[in-house]
Symmetry: C2
Subunit: 432 residues, 2 copies
């Protein structure tokens, strides 16, 4: 054992505390695996006086990030602050100074990945981010190290535990979105401000990272067509179930001849799809490669312990390379800018729920509008009539149709007196 590998932390919240505690408790095991001891040198936090779950060695805590970033005894910086504020600045400075960085910051990688990888390359440093996607499920490593011979064709994933917990509650207990959200918040599965999760942004960041790695093209999160789950109602879950489907927030990226189409939205999945059975806070990622076929990776997508597993996988891998006297060579590639496609380019099946005037000829009129746009109806059901309002509820499943044609039909519906409201338009994936 010739040298020590110094570890510094930026932030020490739930995840950071478990990472630090594990590093301290398993120091001997990790030293044996790596070939050198890992030593916790510096931990920068906002308030060093705050009580913590982990007992850190004396003199390690500081309120100055600089003490982590400039300490020559710190080889690897673990960034667990999150967000785009200070964290991004710190990561840039660490890489520019030749420090290796492990980060769980999906927003930072999704938005600034190519810039940061270039910085890392110039500084001779490694930038690793396995914990940014899928908690303890290996996702980044499979894409980079296990499937490099494949042409990846598609990724489909349930990668936000908060929304999956809410959708599972709505499906299994017929709850409203508001009630299911409140319950998730009470259990700590959703944050007080749930925007980032329920509006799909968190899933879009993660899909951005996975798609960029899989296709070698930077797919920024702004190029991911993103819809959240706020507008889903118990009726949609009930009707979906009657048709043999469940509703999940699915992140999908596909390679087309002319570019990458990436999207996050509530999706009807048939019961026959494995992703339809990923419930609660579980996550699952499906990667389809031309050699390996479809691989599915499933597990806990969040939580301090699973995320610690991913942080330490990256830390130990860098440390092992350093202990062997080599530079960490692993590089996520250039993410050349390439074509990304708008969701308009999509062709898929659709589920449509609408409230119409309950009188003869209305269904024929709706069918004609859809037919004029070459949207072919696979099934139509009249669900409920409201005698007082004189309205009926229609649920329509289409065959594969062009997104633009469906959107155009909706515009026409809005101009029809007989259509009171288009209540829901959901995309359908998989199965027949």
């Amino acid at each position: 054992m010739t040298r020590e590998i110094g570890i510094g932390f930026l932030g020490m919240g739930n995840v950071g505390s478990v990472v630090a505690a594990t590093l301290l408790e398993r120091a001997d095991e990790f030293a044996a695996r790596v070939g050198a001891p890992l030593v916790l040198r510096r931990v920068a936090v906002k308030n060093p006086a705050k009580p913590r779950d982990v007992e850190l060695p004396p003199g390690v805590l500081t309120d100055a990030a600089d003490e982590v970033l400039t300490d020559p005894a710190v080889d690897i910086v673990v960034e667990v602050i999150g967000g785009q504020g200070d964290a991004g600045d710190y990561v840039r400075r660490a890489l520019a100074g030749g420090k290796h960085v492990v980060t769980a910051n999906k927003e930072l990688i999704a938005k600034a990945g190519p810039e940061l990888f270039a910085l890392a390359r110039e500084g001779g440093a490694a930038l690793r981010f396995e914990p940014s996607v899928g908690g303890g499920i290996p996702v980044i490593s499979p894409l980079l190290r296990d499937l490099p011979a494949n042409r990846v064709q598609a990724i489909r994933a349930i990668i936000n535990g908060t929304t999956n917990y809410i959708l599972t509650s709505m499906a299994q207990r017929g709850e409203s979105f508001e009630d299911a959200l409140a319950e998730a918040q009470a259990l700590g599965y959703a944050e007080p401000d749930p925007t980032n999760d329920v509006d799909g942004h968190d899933a879009a960041f993660k899909l951005s990272i996975m798609a960029s790695l899989a296709f070698g093209t930077h797919v920024p999160s702004t190029a991911v067509a993103t819809e959240g789950i706020r507008s889903l109602t118990p009726q949609d879950f009930q009707y979906a179930r009657e048709l043999g489907y469940v509703i999940k927030l699915v992140a999908i990226a596909e390679r087309r001849d002319d570019g990458v189409l990436a999207r996050v939205h509530p999706t009807l999945l048939p019961d026959s799809e494995p992703l339809a059975h990923i419930d609660g806070v579980q996550n699952a990622v499906q990667i389809r490669g031309d050699l390996a076929g479809t691989l599915t990776f499933q597990g806990a997508g969040a939580g301090a312990a699973p995320t610690t597993s991913a942080v330490l996988a990256d830390v130990l891998d860098i440390a092992r390379t350093l202990a062997a006297g080599a530079a960490p060579a692993w590089d996520p590639g250039d993410w050349r800018s390439g074509e990304t496609l708008p969701v308009d380019a999509l062709e898929t099946r659709y589920y449509l729920r609408m409230t119409v005037v309950d009188q003869p000829g209305v269904l024929a009129q709706i069918a004609r509008v859809l037919g004029d746009g070459s949207v072919s109806i696979a099934a139509v059901q009249q669900k409920e009539t409201d005698a007082e309002q004189g309205t009926a509820e229609l649920v329509i499943m289409t065959h594969a149709a062009r997104e633009l044609a469906v959107a155009s039909a909706l515009v026409t519906f809005e101009g029809l007196d007989e259509v009171r409201e288009v209540n829901a338009l959901l995309r359908v994936e998989g199965g027949a």
Copy 2:
């Protein structure tokens, strides 16, 4: 691009042909990824004159393995011969000569792993074997590189596609083992001599490798309690289904305080277990780590293209390290010899099917024998009576009981006139 990375092949069957074809077709992509061109130098086969699916560069084919093993321009040797004969000798010589080796040979790694890793270390070479388990599903890489911070507690896997195809046919179509085997053979899913698959040896080799990596202890395949699927009958599938179970050949390894208990046998799994729904030639591996929780990896566990994905993951990873001027540092560890436990140490639930004399008092007698051994009955059903023989068929599900106690009860049953035959004794996993 400073140097070329030379690749040699030992064997060129189904898998080797696809590996070679992919190396040739994607040469430019791989050179960009690796930072150096990969060049196919030598391919040793028994009969160079035989027509092949892949068009190899002129002068590459030879019938002398020595030409691969001694060619200084060959950096990485891909061994796709299989078995324990010549392949083991060649791999030893390659490693001793400092050549890096990628092998799909599960029998070789399971039996001679520790010896080969020591050879590799002395020769300064890498020995990689991702394709030996799970076809295109990453299994070795997650255990070594993605979960190093975890204490792995258990592995449960369906890792033999042949038997899973046969069991799926038996479950879904009520076929006999013989018919389902014949069908699998006709489709190419089972070999003319199916022993290695249907008797559980192939699964035991794979479990041996996974358990040794997970627990850092050599778990030789001879220490894996192994039972095949030949004795399963349509009745067992029917009764299991009525009870809410399916029957799968499951490979299980668990870390206990006093050692590792590893076993491969037909197993009743409740419908609520994800592994219960892995059908046909699909494989799935569950790894339970103390940090990551239970992770499931699913995909095609065999086939030339998926196996090529795994072979080339290893080849490209070694090549990238070589191109960077470093020695491949990745080491599967020492596999220190440690305690492995006999299946006698097991405590689990059991399914028991027996033919008994159809007369009053017999059930009480059987219950007393089990009770005397502290084997508690969870459910008992009388299935069919045979008036001519004067016998009845009993199906018993036990609560968790000690394997030795159940085995001892079976010995007692053999001595009872009232018990005509114990038709089946199967272990039950998961669920309640």
